[in-house]
């Protein structure tokens, strides 16, 4: 959109027209929670996936695999997180003037440097910053911004501004490297566009145990059905293929996830994973009020941590947190959500630091757009443009990257991007996944020296 107007959403409804609408993310148990642990599934399944994921070693000791590869964990924040109240330019008078009562009190910000500080609800990120494990990329965005959640997220996930592309930037990487689907793992029922290629789509796993229902016979026969037939129509073949991926996931990751059911790498409180979905709903529906321990993101990252620590060799993981579309009464909502982000990512990095398989893991945190500099009349903020992104991890070179956008030279009331978002992707593809980014991004973009 290039006009002179932008959406100012409803005053009385914290708008949330995006993905985080799912009302019950805990739910993966279905009508029957099968409990049989897979035994007899060796039939029909080669060692391929197991080898691919675990480097061919036994899964039992949690220390298999070769050397620690670099891994990317993509954290998508749905709704458009307000970056200006996340990494706060608290010494800039234009900030205080434009934000009014929504401006964070300078005495409360967690000071970083260069006049910036973190939201008070992010002590974990402050700790990572002090340990030089947190990179903050300023002014991230793209030309001709779009204020639609849907289209902006589409641009972010496809990695192609302007012309819509059905594949994602990591999906094209999966295609281009002729990878097994198990090389990238999405948490949840469906696979985001970012991880969907034309030929290869990431494997999706539930947020919780990966236990197959039924008897050994039922499971063996499921595998027989999943073989499919050579002359299957395209969709039947694809359905059979996803069934086989499920079995491969069970065989390669199931034992880890079984043990994970009793382990707690992120040291979550007992009710965290159980109540997470419900609490997020409460927070969404109420405009805040969820408990800090009810952390859906932590539940997802806990699964990821277990997989990485056990030596699963997937290179990419995708997790998500929604609810950031704060058009009204922003502070309590954003505070709760940033607290969840802070707690989950910090615990995740803590769990991986110094470990054989986890120390080269990079967490990339992004959202579809920033929010307008001026607060609106409902103590909220409307859709904007440039934003901050985070990269965190034991191997990340902490510090600021990119030029902070001016708070006085605005476009349509919004800060203007200084760092093309594809530079982030080029950095991840080049620096983390060790590949030439160019073919997957349809062009060359400067890499940031943050890994």
């Amino acid at each position: 959109m290039t006009g002179t107007t932008w959406p100012e959403h409803s005053r009385d409804e914290p708008a949330e027209a995006t993905r985080n609408g799912n009302l019950d993310r805990r739910a993966f148990l279905g009508l029957a929670g099968g409990t049989a642990v897979l035994g007899a599934l060796g039939v029909a399944l080669g060692q391929r996936a197991f080898d691919a994921l675990l480097g061919g070693a036994a899964a039992a000791d949690g220390a298999m695999g070769s050397t620690a590869g670099s891994r990317l964990v993509l954290v998508t924040l749905y709704g458009g997180n307000d970056g200006l109240n996340t990494v706060i330019p608290y010494q800039d008078s234009a900030y205080a003037a434009a934000r009014g009562s929504l401006a964070v009190d300078p005495t409360n910000v967690l000071q970083l440097s260069d006049g910036f500080g973190l939201h008070p609800g992010m002590p974990g990120f402050k700790k990572l910053w002090d340990a030089k494990e947190l990179a903050i990329v300023q002014g991230v965005g793209f030309a001709d911004p779009n204020y639609s959640h849907f289209e902006s997220m589409d641009i972010w996930q496809s990695g192609v501004p302007g012309s819509p592309e059905p594949t994602g930037w990591l999906g094209r990487w999966l295609d281009g490297t002729r990878s097994s689907p198990l090389r990238a793992i999405a948490l949840g029922p469906t696979v985001p566009t970012a991880l969907s290629g034309e030929h290869v789509q990431a494997a999706a796993i539930p947020v919780g145990p990966l236990v197959l229902p039924g008897s050994a016979l039922e499971q063996a026969l499921y595998a027989a059905v999943a073989r499919g037939d050579a002359d299957d129509a395209a969709l039947l073949a694809e359905a059979a293929s996803s069934d086989r991926v499920l079995l491969e996931l069970r065989q390669s990751l199931g034992p880890i996830l079984d043990r994970a059911a009793t382990s707690n790498p992120l040291h979550l409180s007992d009710e965290s994973t159980e109540a997470a979905g419900a609490a997020a709903n409460l927070a969404n529906a109420n405009g805040g009020g969820g408990q800090a321990s009810d952390n859906v993101l932590a539940a997802q990252l806990s699964v990821v941590a277990n997989l990485i620590l056990a030596g699963a060799t997937a290179d990419v993981y995708s997790v998500e947190l929604g609810g950031f579309d704060t058009h009204a009464d922003q502070e309590p909502v954003q505070s709760t959500l940033l607290g969840q982000l802070d707690g989950a990512v910090t615990a995740f990095v803590d769990a991986l630091r110094g470990t054989r398989h986890g120390s080269n893991t990079v967490v990339l945190v992004y959202t579809e757009f920033g929010r307008r500099l001026a607060a609106n009349a409902s103590a909220g903020t409307d859709h904007g443009w440039a934003n901050v992104a985070f990269a965190a991890g034991p191997s990340v070179k902490g510090g600021f990257y990119g030029e902070p956008p001016s708070l006085t030279k605005l476009s349509e009331g919004n800060t203007v991007y200084t760092t093309d978002f594809r530079s982030l992707y080029a950095t991840m593809l080049g620096g983390v996944l060790g590949t030439d980014p160019k073919p997957f991004l349809h062009g060359s973009f400067p890499q940031l020296d943050l890994v």
């Binding site: 409803s10 229902p213 969709l235 059979a240």
Partner: protein
């Protein structure tokens, strides 16, 4: 009993296909009757049901919904009261969803419930922002009552209905600061498709919708004259446009819409196509003449390509279709369902689709989107549980050698591929497992 399914007649298979797409699948008796009546007569019967009473679905009790609480009042609540309200709304949401699923299972006029479901995908609106189940219920009833008539009339009604007004921010659209949210989605998603209008058209349309208001407590629609722009706009090349009703009228009567709407319904019912597809060109002239959805549905079901192989294997069942189709086939009733409503919502959530909760204003993607390993596991768990509770006597009562065919009859599957057939045969002495495998087979998931 011997059930000769392998090699059932083409005519029977086509009627079964029609029932899958125009409804939620046929049970054996229904299929037998429809096969006797013939394909064309079945189309007529399904389409005439669009405007007929639906005693089956209407027997499902409608939940009672609480009166929406305005935001100001909500903000004044303490935390405990907010949580109580939230819990109440969530409870009502589960009841609402269960009610609709129950209607789909019990309907006497399957196309009517199916169209209601497809229109939810065409005008995706979500509880996460609308917040009050009462308003989602209202929109759902609107789809049911007006969905098969004139598309302009339907779009006008949807646009002025509380759920859509809340979902796309009508209350913040004012002359001094127009909000383009609804204007853009109206053209992009609901009526015309992307690429058929300019940003100037979006801006012009947004001005015409300024001042559209909904009372958050009563849901009453009004146009606030002080915030409504009456400045004449140029919209889609037409000068002097100054009302939202005119904008909708022009959008739904545009040439782009005469291709877009047939392409959307064809994509929902046969296989995904773009508006430029030749099959759409076949449907567009008649549709543009009357904009009547019921007539368009007839034209789709009667189009030669609807019954060709591209269509027969052209869609993955959406999770709602999968769940309802399975429950119907195994004789589960809405009353049974009401015992464990949350479990069904959980099963759907695991498959990635909860009705009334689309992932975005774009609605749900199709086909490959549903084929993830995570969703496959959710289907399997659902099927495993269902075959322990549902009626699989058709298979149990068959002799072991006939059970594979009996499972095909139970699910109205024209034929099993060799892989599935072989596996089912090996489960012949374990009917619940046999039917579970049938329910998770590619043949049932993608058809």
């Amino acid at each position: 009993m011997a059930v000769a399914v392998q090699g059932t007649s083409t005519a029977t298979n086509l009627v079964a296909h029609l029932f899958r797409r125009a409804g939620f699948g046929a049970v054996p008796d229904q299929l037998a009757a429809a096969s006797t009546a013939g394909y064309d007569a079945t189309v007529s019967s399904l389409v005439s049901g669009l405007t007929a009473p639906d005693p089956g679905a209407d027997a499902v009790p409608t939940p009672v919904f609480s009166i929406p609480v305005p935001a100001a009042q909500r903000r004044a609540m303490d935390l405990a009261a907010r949580h109580a309200l939230s819990a109440q709304l969530h409870h009502e949401f589960v009841e609402l969803t269960t009610w609709w699923l129950g209607r789909m299972m019990a309907t006497s006029n399957p196309l009517k419930e199916k169209l209601t479901f497809l229109l939810h995908g065409q005008f995706p609106t979500g509880i996460s922002k609308v917040r009050y189940p009462a308003y989602m219920y209202g929109q759902n009833q609107l789809f049911r009552a007006q969905g098969s008539g004139d598309f302009d009339t339907l779009t006008q009604a949807v646009a002025a209905d509380p759920a859509m007004l809340l979902w796309l921010d009508a209350n913040s659209n004012k002359e001094s600061d127009p909000n383009e949210n609804f204007a853009r989605e109206l053209m992009e998603r609901f009526t015309m498709g992307i690429g058929n209008y300019t940003q100037d058209d979006v801006r012009a349309a947004a001005y015409c919708f300024t001042g559209w208001r909904v009372d958050p407590k009563t849901g009453t629609f009004s146009i606030a004259s002080r915030q409504h722009s009456t400045t004449p706009q140029t919209f889609l090349g037409v000068n002097g446009v100054n009302s939202g009703q005119q904008v909708i009228d022009l959008a739904t009567h545009s040439h782009a819409s005469s291709l877009f709407i047939p392409s959307r319904l064809w994509s929902f019912l046969a296989y995904p196509v773009m508006p430029s597809d030749p099959v759409v060109a076949d449907l567009a002239p008649a549709y543009s003449a009357d904009r009547n959805i019921g007539n368009l549905l007839t034209a789709i079901f009667q189009h030669p390509q609807f019954t060709e192989s591209g269509s027969l294997q052209g869609l993955v069942k959406q999770p709602t279709e999968y769940v309802v189709g399975s429950l119907r086939a195994l004789g589960v009733t809405p009353t049974d369902l009401a015992q464990t409503p949350a479990a069904l919502v959980q099963a759907l959530s695991g498959m990635g689709q909860v009705p009334f909760d689309p992932p975005s204003v774009g609605g749900w993607p199709q086909n490959s989107y549903w084929l993830s390993a995570s969703a496959a596991l959710a289907r399997w768990k659902f099927a495993h549980g269902l075959t322990r509770k549902g009626d699989i006597s058709l298979v149990v009562d068959a002799s072991p050698t006939d059970r594979v065919d009996a499972a095909a009859a139970l699910l109205a599957i024209p034929r099993w591929g060799p892989a599935t057939s072989g596996a089912l045969q090996r489960a012949a002495n374990d009917p619940p497992t046999l039917v579970t495998l049938a329910l998770v087979s590619p043949e049932f998931v993608a058809n």
